[in-house]
């Protein structure tokens, strides 16, 4: 897909890729743009336009790697955005997915033990994901902010590299969950209920992968470089 530029209409962003709806909300941007361009809306909301473009383009094109732009602004800005995304997952997406899963469970007439196992597995996945988000919010992000404020390496060492491994583990569980449902679960449920649940789950997977990509490729890469410089 073609990348967005600052002179593009803000409305074209959503008509071209509606998955960006929650992304612009995280910046505090809401619908009703009239004919305003991306740059105009960003200015109004006091958002760094380059930063905004780098984020939406990361969601739009998987191979997009905004090195130059991202180095020009502080990772603190990025961390704010990532934290907002975590809140969106915790307060909105996960409760919604859970509600839809409960509807699937309720639609099962009998022999629902397999479906209950799926539910148990989902709970396990959710617990792990929440732990990961918590680790980032409470340990990793404060560590990075501190690093940039004080410009000295912490005596306890860095725990930056731990995250990438965690991302893989969380991603594997979600893909296992999807495969269990799509390939191995006998369909003892109401189809519409399952379709709604599965659609929400798959959409969440996409969003989460993009989110992890921003963390691994942009945030972590940048921090590792910075740590190297401090060591000199």
């Amino acid at each position: 897909m073609e990348l967005f530029r600052k002179e593009d209409k803000m409305s074209s962003l959503i008509t071209r890729n509606y998955n960006l709806l929650p992304v612009i909300n995280r910046f505090g941007i809401r619908l009703g743009f009239k004919e305003k361009t991306i740059a105009e809306v960003c200015q109004e909301k006091k958002i760094d336009t380059d930063f905004f473009l780098a984020i939406v383009n990361t969601y739009t094109d998987e191979s997009y790697f905004p090195e130059a732009e991202f180095l020009s602004f502080s990772p603190v800005l990025l961390i704010d955005y990532l934290k907002n995304t975590h809140k969106y997952y915790i307060n909105y997406v996960l409760p919604k997915i859970e509600r839809l899963l409960n509807q699937v469970l309720q639609s099962c007439p009998e022999n629902c033990s397999s479906l209950k196992m799926i539910n148990t597995f989902y709970q396990k996945y959710k617990t792990e994901l929440l732990l990961h988000l918590k680790l980032e919010d409470e340990k990793v992000f404060p560590y990075i902010i501190n690093l940039y404020e004080n410009k000295t390496l912490s005596a306890e060492g860095s725990f930056i590299e731990v995250i990438e491994n965690e991302h893989t583990n969380v991603e594997v569980k979600l893909s296992d969950l999807e495969n269990l449902i799509i390939r191995h679960l006998s369909p003892n449920y109401e189809d519409n209920a399952m379709n709604e649940f599965l659609t929400a789950l798959l959409q969440f997977e996409n969003d989460l992968n993009d989110h992890a990509r921003i963390e691994d490729h942009i945030l972590i890469t940048q921090v590792i470089e910075f740590e190297k410089e401090l060591k000199k």
Binding site: M117, K173, L180, L185
Partner: protein, 200 residues
């Protein structure tokens, strides 16, 4: 899978004759060699079905054949000078002789093709797990390590790892907890056998 036929015989009449008979019915690549020594220069072939029709009483160049076997499905056909079966050598999968009819020669290819597609099916197994793979899943779900599984089933760790790889490929499930859910859903394991708090 790509099919390659080699006809190795010192007699040009026999090489060309066999080749003509085969090409009458099958469109396949046929390489004619006067000596098995020349097989060595084909060792780079991989991922193919190779049918080697070899002069049975000549030197076979087993070294080159073993190399080809590493990366290909190899079928060895012995070509004999007489009808007598006394000479029939165990290393050949099939045999032909001077007096084999065109039908017998062509049938050979069909037999090889069928056995080839059969062995391919058993490899993929329609995604069904083998009994051994089911044993392995059960032990994974019970929380055993690769080493413990190997000891319990009297197989090497290497074999356990290759079972796990096949299982993941067939089911699309990688995590231990995911495999546990699969095992319970398919009655390979009873929910009472595991500690749901801990594992799932």
């Amino acid at each position: 899978m790509k099919e390659n036929v080699f006809i190795v015989h010192h007699s040009e009449i026999i090489r060309k004759g066999l080749s003509l008979i085969l090409q009458e019915y099958f469109k396949m690549e046929i390489t004619q060699l006067s000596s098995a020594k020349d097989l060595s220069s084909f060792s780079a072939i991989s991922g193919s079905t190779l049918i080697l029709i070899l002069e049975a009483q000549a030197d076979l160049n087993t070294k080159a054949i073993d190399l080809l076997k590493k990366n290909n499905d190899v079928y060895l056909v012995g070509f004999y000078g007489e009808t007598s079966e006394e000479h029939f050598d165990k290393i050949f999968d099939y045999q032909l002789n001077h007096y084999s009819s065109a039908i017998q020669i062509q049938k050979l290819i069909q037999v090889i093709r069928q056995s080839g597609s059969k062995s391919k099916n058993s490899l993929q197994d329609n995604g069904e797990l083998t009994t051994r793979e089911k044993d392995v899943i059960k032990l994974i779900a019970l929380g055993l390590s690769n080493k413990e599984i190997a000891d319990k089933l009297f197989i090497s760790i290497h074999t356990v790892i290759s079972h796990r790889k096949n299982i993941t490929e067939k089911l699309g499930i990688k995590s231990i907890s995911g495999l546990t859910v699969y095992a319970i859903m398919n009655n390979l394991l009873d929910i009472q056998d595991i500690n749901p708090e801990e594992l799932i």
